[in-house]
Symmetry: C2
Subunit: 165 residues, 2 copies
């Protein structure tokens, strides 16, 4: 039997470790050019007065082998909170050992404890290994929906919509 997987909440001292894994995830997703996170920004936004998300770290023996980062969302149709899993990452050399499932399972447990109706996350459409795993867990693709994003100058302009129309 493989070594036990332990999961604990991250603390501010773990920020360098977390940033390293965020960069690892971005590299896997071919999105490294989008990463502007720094240790200072992560400390402020995750461990300051208004934490934007919860972070879990997975360990195998003394090695930190992966992380999960999540925050609450809300369904009007259910009138219930849910959880959105923003990041799920296992270091390459530790994959296919149940660590991703263990992290997902812990987040699902937290969702139930908080009275949440659902757990959601997003995956890149080319990421077949992950998609197969998610489907095996009973996750359903919401493939009639597309997310839209406004950022930068477009966000500034949109904020002035009533002034400019």
């Amino acid at each position: 039997m493989s070594a036990e997987i332990r999961i604990r909440e991250a603390a501010v001292e773990d920020v360098p470790l977390v940033l390293g894994m965020i960069r690892g995830l971005a590299e896997y997703e071919k999105l490294s050019h989008q990463v502007t996170a720094t240790e200072e920004k992560l400390r402020d936004t995750l461990f300051g007065p208004r934490p934007g998300a919860d972070v879990l770290l997975a360990y195998q023996n003394h090695d930190c082998v992966g992380f999960a980062l999540f925050f609450p969302n809300y369904s009007t149709f259910l009138a219930m909170p849910g959880i959105f899993l923003e990041d799920l990452y296992v270091k390459p050399e530790w994959r296919r050992k149940g660590i991703g499932g263990a992290l997902l399972g812990r987040v699902a447990r937290i969702a139930l404890e908080r009275g949440c109706g659902r757990l959601e996350w997003e995956v890149l459409d080319w990421n077949e290994p992950s998609i197969g795993f998610y489907k095996s867990l009973g996750a359903v693709p919401m493939d009639e929906w597309t997310k839209y994003r406004v950022t930068g100058d477009a966000l500034e302009k949109l904020a002035d919509y009533l002034k400019t129309r």
Copy 2:
């Protein structure tokens, strides 16, 4: 010139109004069968001790003509909070008068005031009128991504992942 659009925050007294519009949105999206929200659940989850979202109401003269419901999300790549717009709805007889844009603009303004890096929402792929409008505002489709959802029995089972594998 058309009548001025006013926007205000919803209060607990507005719950019946909000539920009516949630049902109107579900009907438009052909998802009425998914709605299990009640006035009581909305009161608890939106106006109780731990509000799950902010709600804005749009008025034209004395008519409540639409609403927006949103909550914070978080980007690890930016190490910044964002806003996710869960619902945007304008009553059918009031569409094409700039009310949806006014609500979106107000949410964008709130995003900037809160130091958010982006505003995001989802749209059904067949909803061409809305998609055209969103693109005209500079919103970018994240069409390489698909959301996955776990709910009900699959969520309970996932919460026991480490016990059962």
